[in-house]
């Protein structure tokens, strides 16, 4: 059973932590490795690629990591963080273009069931599908 790690990158620490709370609420009592890299170190809005690379390393148990992010500098910090990682770790990381909240919820559910990295990334990517189906 794979243990894929998840990383949430946001400009805002409260936003990232609330998204994680919302996702964990789906599976009370189930452990999934979710690391947060969000906000500047003085508590403001922003992203930090060095913190992102540390979060990826912390979330990685060897089965891969799926990284979800909000917008703008979060995307570029994610890409920059890859440059800072060892080659071996970098190969196990997927940067997901999924919407942050919906993607994270889908990813947490399948990751907790032991799905592999590509399956977790695919589930994140289809995170908007239920909402799109409902709203037509």
């Amino acid at each position: 059973m794979a243990q894929v790690g998840l990383v949430v990158i946001s400009h805002s620490r409260p936003l990232a932590e609330a998204a994680v709370t919302l996702a964990r609420q789906m599976l009370p009592g189930v452990e999934v490795a979710i690391e947060v890299a969000a906000g500047t170190d003085d508590g403001g809005l922003g992203t930090d690629a060095v913190a992102v690379s540390a979060a990826i390393t912390a979330a990685d148990s060897g089965d891969g990591v799926v990284v979800l992010m909000d917008l703008g500098s979060a995307v570029m910090s994610a890409e920059t963080a890859l440059e800072l990682l060892d080659d071996e770790v970098r190969e196990r990381v997927v940067l997901s273009p999924a919407p942050l909240v919906e993607g994270l919820i889908g990813a947490v559910v399948v990751a907790s069931g032991g799905a592999d990295r590509d399956r977790v990334a695919a589930e994140a990517l289809r995170g908007l599908a239920p909402k799109q189906a409902h709203l037509g």
Partner: protein
């Protein structure tokens, strides 16, 4: 020479200029962005100068890498990864700090910004100042001009590129959400890029 002392002076002068123009950069960014370019760049460059003070680097490559990692970590906005990548790629190519090596390193840095930002000339970004500056620097160094004169030519090209962003419609970053409303405003990233080149022209010399 773009040696350790020269590059330190460059970084310090850029930090001073960013601090002096902090409000102007933020004002430009409030028109077409998220109003944080001045404060973000000031925080990043203040931290970069402090990092160089705390641990004086042994050589030009180490100096540029320290600046890169500090910008990547401390700026917070998109200019962190972009300026950070510029300095990081320069670090790998600075060599002996001769004018030719500096020009090659600057070109490598600009190519890093292109790869990171996936923007092109005319997208109303810092590249509208960086790309003409790299072209002018290469041409002047190839013609055998001393580094300070070559960098003054690069700064002049960057100023022209910055001014040319005013009528453009933004196609990248937060400003692109504004569409036609971004027309008529000078790009904040191109504006801070001019400060970077002007700081280089006043601190680096040699032939």
């Amino acid at each position: 020479m773009a040696d350790t002392a020269g590059l330190t002076a460059w970084v310090q002068e850029f930090a001073r200029a960013v601090h002096e123009h902090r409000d102007e950069l933020t004002e430009l960014d409030s028109a077409i962005g998220d109003a944080d370019h001045g404060s973000n760049m000031d925080r990043g460059m203040t931290a970069a100068v402090a990092a160089l003070d705390a641990t004086p680097p042994a050589d030009p490559a180490a100096l540029l890498k320290t600046v890169a990692m500090t910008m990547i970590s401390k700026v917070g906005g998109t200019s962190g990864p972009l300026y950070g990548t510029l300095f990081l790629r320069m670090s790998g190519a600075i060599g002996d700090g001769s004018p030719a090596a500096f020009a090659a390193a600057f070109r490598a840095g600009v190519e890093g910004v292109v790869a990171r930002g996936k923007a092109e000339l005319g997208d109303k970004t810092m590249l509208d100042a960086l790309l003409p500056a790299a072209d002018a620097l290469d041409a002047a160094v190839a013609a055998g001009r001393p580094l300070d004169a070559a960098l003054e030519a690069a700064a002049a090209a960057a100023r022209e590129g910055r001014d040319a962003t005013v009528p453009l419609q933004a196609r990248k970053g937060r400003a692109s959400y504004l569409g036609e409303r971004s027309v008529g405003h000078q790009d904040p990233g191109a504006t801070s890029t001019v400060l970077l080149l002007e700081a280089a022209a006043t601190t680096l010399s040699g032939s």
